[in-house]
Each structure stands twice: as C-alpha cells, then as structure tokens.
C-alpha cells in the first residue's frame, strides 16, 4: 500500500515536471515570437522613415518639374506675344503667377491627402503590412500623379483661356482708344473749334479778331 502511494506520487511529480518543461518551452517560444514581432516592428518603422523620404521625394520633384515647365512655357509664350508693351506683359506674367500660386495650393492639398492615406496604412501594421504598404503606396503615388497630371492640364487650359481673354480685352481696349482718337480728330476738334469761334469767321471777323488780340496783348503788358 505504501509502495503504491509512493509510485503514484513519483508519477504525479514527473507529470508536473513535464508540464513545467512544456510551460517553460512555451514561454521561451512566446518570447521568441515577441522578439520577432518587435524586430519586425523596428524594421517596419525603419521602412516607414525610408518610405517617407523615398515616396514624398518623387512626388515633390515631379510636381516642381511640372510647375517649372509650365512656368517656363508660359513665360516664353508671354514674351513672344507681339504688340504687347512691357507693362502689359508684366500684367500677364503676374496673372500667371497668381494662377500658379493657386495651383500650388492644389498640389499641397494632394500632398496632404497622400500623407493622410499613408498614415492610415502605417497604423495597420502587421506581419504582412509591408506588402500592403507597398501596394498602398504605389496606389497613392499613382493617384497623386493622376492628380498632378490633371492639375497640369488645368494649368495649360487656364493659361490658354487667360491669354485668349487678355487678347480679346487688349483688342477691345485698342478699339476703344482708336474710337476716342477718331472722335478727337473729328468731333471734339470741331466742337471745340466751334466753341471757341462761336461760328465760322468771315474775313471781316478775322480782322476784328486781330484787333481784339492786339488789345488783349496791350492789356497783358506785352508792348511795355
């Protein structure tokens, strides 16, 4: 009886020992998993920094290249327009610069959208996050490029519309000036002449005007 009890205790202790070994092994394994996860997380953080640098840069560079090209092209168009004064060209160039500033605001809006989407991806970090991140970033970059292309088309259209509008305005202005000059050449001179003369002068009236002018000169002290 005593021996039987001893054997049961020994068996029980052995089972507990095995169980403990299993627990230790499981603990060690879980520790490895945590360490692996931590390592993955660090790697992902590093990837995040790299991606931030590497992903923003192409978009920035491309945007600036597009804007610089648009600016250069617009400057060439403005400079080559015949019949515009330097002042008119400056007005046109300034108008374009204002439009460019508006376009830059659009670009900043696109960049902001890109940043928000990117942060959303980073927040969902997991074991397979890197693949998803790459896929997502590619999509966001593609979206940003599409937006920039759309903005470029918009800039080109706006330049053309601005130039056409300005050309019409300059043309209308010149017509107005010519009309005024025509009036000066005919109506105004005629009216003013009549206003001064009162009526067309006969020779007798011309003679009287000469005598009156002499009297005026005398009053002015011209002969003194």
């Amino acid at each position: 009886m005593g021996n039987e009890l001893l054997y049961v205790l020994i068996g029980l202790i052995s089972a507990l020992g095995l169980l403990l070994v299993v627990f230790v092994m499981l603990f060690i394994k879980s520790q490895k998993s945590v360490s692996s996860l931590r390592s993955d997380l660090d790697l992902l953080k590093k990837d995040k920094v790299d991606l931030e640098k590497g992903a923003y840069e192409p978009v920035n560079t491309q945007a600036r290249a597009i804007i610089d090209t648009a600016n250069k092209k617009a400057s060439e168009i403005i400079a080559s327009v015949q019949g515009l004064s330097e002042q008119e060209k400056n007005i046109l160039a300034n108008s374009f610069q204002q439009m460019l500033a508006a376009n830059l605001r659009d670009y900043q809006s696109v960049a902001s959208k890109f940043s928000q989407t990117y942060e959303g991806f980073v927040a969902n970090i997991g074991r397979d996050v890197k693949e998803r991140l790459d896929m997502g970033l590619n999509k966001v970059i593609a979206d940003a490029q599409t937006e920039m292309k759309r903005s470029t088309l918009s800039v080109n259209a706006a330049i053309q519309n601005l130039y056409k509008g300005y050309e019409v305005e300059v043309s209308e202005y010149k017509k107005g000036i010519l009309s005024q000059i025509d009036k000066l050449g005919v109506d105004i001179i005629k009216q003013v002449s009549l206003k001064v003369l009162g009526k067309s002068l006969s020779k007798k009236e011309q003679e009287e005007l000469v005598i009156k002018s002499l009297e005026e000169a005398k009053k002015l002290g011209f002969f003194e």
Binding site: E172, Y173, K175, G176, I177, S179, Q180, L184, I188, I189, V192, S193, K195, V196, L197, L201, K203, Q206, E207, L209, V210, I211, S213, L214, E216, A217, K218, L220, F222, F223
Partner: protein, 148 residues
C-alpha cells in the same frame, strides 16, 4: 523835329522802300543837280517827294542824314496772321498801333494760315501767341481719354 514821313509809314515794307529811296536821293545828290531832279521826279513816290521837298528845302543833305538816323529808331512789330490783309485793314492796323503803342511803329506782317485766326506777335525780343490754334490747343488739353 520828327519827319512827317515816319508817321506815314505803316509796314516794314514801307520802311525798306523809304530807305531805298533815300539811298537813291543821296547818291544823286553827290552826282549832279540834274541827276537829283531826275531821281526825285521819276524814282521817288510822289507823296514821299512832296514831304522831302517841303521838309528838306533848306539843307537836303542834312535832312536825309537826319532822316536816316530816325529810321533806325523806328520800332518794328512782327505779326503773323492767317489771311492776306487788305490795304484798308493794314491802314486800320497801323492806326491802332500808332495810337496805342508808338506813333512811329511799323508792322511786319507775315502770313501763317496754320494759326487759324488771331495773331502771333514778336516785339523787342518778346513773343506772344494769341492765335486760335493756341486757344484750341488749350481747350484740347482739358480733354481726357477714357477707356472705351
């Protein structure tokens, strides 16, 4: 005593003609009495010769010399007008000038149709534009272009 001749001069042309007549007379005087008689009878205007004979009967050479000096003091007014003046108008103009400015003054009339009317004066180094063109220009200066 001032010669009656000077008060009868109206224009600078009159003055120049008188100067020429005095030259002829002076030359003739130094040639012969016959030459003098011929010149004063044929080459000098009748109203001029009448006054000369009247005023210079005592000392003709001295009279002509004095007259030449007086001619140098005659003031000349340059005046541009836009029409060919009639003889009557020149008379009227000269009368006004002698009554209002100087009894010896003569006028040098110039034609300038571009002045449109009125007169442009030049006198003793001064200039005054009282032409219609100037007055119209002054009116036009107040006209401003408006963007049409």
């Amino acid at each position: 005593m001032e010669s009656e001749l000077l008060s009868k001069l109206r224009t600078k042309d009159d003055l120049d003609i008188l100067r020429g007549e005095l030259d002829l007379l002076e030359n003739a005087l130094y040639q012969s009495i016959n030459k003098y008689n011929e010149v004063i009878k044929n080459d000098i205007r009748s109203w001029v010769s009448e006054i000369i004979l009247k005023e210079g009967k005592e000392d003709l050479k001295g009279y002509i010399k004095k007259l030449r000096s007086e001619i140098l003091t005659v003031p000349v007014l340059s005046a541009s007008i836009n029409f060919e003046p009639s003889n009557t108008f020149i008379e009227k103009l000269s009368l006004w000038l002698k009554q209002n400015i100087d009894k010896k003054i003569v006028v040098d009339l110039l034609l300038n149709t571009a002045s449109l009317g009125g007169i442009q004066l030049s006198y003793r180094g001064k200039y005054l534009d009282l032409s219609l063109r100037k007055k119209i220009s002054a009116e036009l200066a107040n006209v401003r272009l408006q963007k049409g």
